[in-house]
Symmetry: C2
Subunit: 227 residues, 2 copies
DNA sequence: AATATATTTTAGGCAAGTCTAAAAATATTA
DNA sequence: TAATATTTTTAGACTTGCCTAAAATATATT
């Protein structure tokens, strides 16, 4: 007797909620509150309550009134599949179609919902099984395994006078990425941390021979490893 | 004073209706009836009436009660853009990802709704501005121009003992395309029409040295040009 | 502990897209 | 042309996903 796993069809909205819950779970290591989810989804708390009941009924999250939600194993698997598709498509758009890294997130938000596991698998092969997307984020493999870089840290947690390599950005808004482009900073850029200003938590770095000042907000959105 | 053309955002459902109306208009050269549209959309006539009112309010079709619908200029432009995207994606899936021509239609049905004119343009360039999709259908260019082959005709309208080249298929169902695959018939296949059987309107052709019998239904779905 | 504040849920409503059943209009046929 | 059949529209209902306003619960403050 064979057991058939029925992978339920999810709406785009349901998928986006799953992704949002996953993202919050990764950031804060706690159950996800209704308000936090409403914030992430740019919607109202009452809408979140509605959706959260539906996802709970489908066993993709556990939900207790007034106590927030957590993804189930199945929910996590779905979230990771979506992230995999999102990052593969972003890689395709940059590597094959020549888009800038600031242009691909919005399009990938649409493409990640295309339903075809064969497509995902063939896209992965076509791209030569890339490990990271254009923003330096790791791409989960077909089994859902994500290889995080152990040495990765936020630029705000670095030592003075030490050399680092930029390996990722956590804000993918076009304005931030264009700002980095203007300064020539990209994934792989070699930098040295020169000074840290306590009054506004900005820092100055050496990059390509010149000194660049980065605001607190910019610094918080750059991930590096020691060089 | 500049006139700004506001390209309205359409839902996937609205887009599919526009495409369906266009397809029927091409086939029968007449206004499109509610029932014909319901048949094409695999839905009920009452649902069609509802949608037809909406599209009419958006000036994408002209609609008169009990008299069927016609696409407006704007409606036609939208239909052609969708067909362009559909066929470009099918080409991508076959040429770049290695899908079979029988596997791509369903996936392209999803991909054609991705919103980004820059994506369409870059995909076109990446594919080297292909003129035809994997089923031999012409791909509209960025200006909406479709180059139809003047010499194209249905296999049912061919002369005996004459040589032809298969240039297209009008049924894209996997079962039909797999049937052609089994016989080795593809776009570009050189064939000779041997005989025509009146009693069931089947024909026999010579292909690759061997004789193949094709049913009426098969014949009706193959497009050829004289060799 | 009682009160005030913040968070979350419920109640009720709206738009899109679909359906069934019934009514209205059009087309066919006797 | 009148009856019959077919097509199309309307009426009313359902689901999904969202909203606002109000009620319920939980948390913070005095
Ligand atoms: Mn992204
Ligand atoms: Mn990314
Ligand atoms: Mn197709
Ligand atoms: Mn095609």
């Amino acid at each position: 007797m064979t057991i058939k796993v029925i992978m339920q069809e999810l709406s785009t909205s349901e998928e986006n909620y799953i992704k949002a819950i996953y993202a919050i779970e990764q950031a804060e290591r706690d159950t996800v509150s209704t308000n936090a989810l409403a914030e992430q989804m740019q919607t109202k708390a009452s809408s979140v309550t509605d959706m959260v009941k539906k996802l709970s009924a489908k066993s993709l999250i556990t939900y207790e009134k007034y106590k927030g939600v957590t993804l189930t194993e199945e929910g996590i698997a779905i979230a990771i599949k979506l992230i995999r598709k999102h990052r593969l498509w972003e890689t395709f758009l940059v590597e094959k179609l020549g888009f800038g890294w600031d242009e691909v997130h919005e399009i990938a938000e649409q493409l990640e919902h295309i339903q075809s596991s064969k497509l995902t698998q063939k896209l992965d092969a076509f791209l030569n099984y890339p490990k990271f997307d254009p923003h330096g984020d790791p791409i989960p493999n077909e089994d859902g395994v994500i290889h995080k870089n152990e040495k990765a840290r936020n630029l705000s947690e670095t030592d003075l006078q030490e050399a680092y390599i930029v390996i990722g950005v956590s804000d993918v808004s076009p304005s931030f990425l264009k700002y980095l482009d203007k300064n020539g900073i990209n994934i792989g850029s070699k930098i040295k941390v020169l000074q840290r200003y306590d009054f506004d938590q900005s820092i100055s770095i050496e990059f390509n021979g010149k000194e660049i000042n980065l605001s607190k907000t910019a610094v918080q959105n750059i991930t590096v490893i020691p060089n």
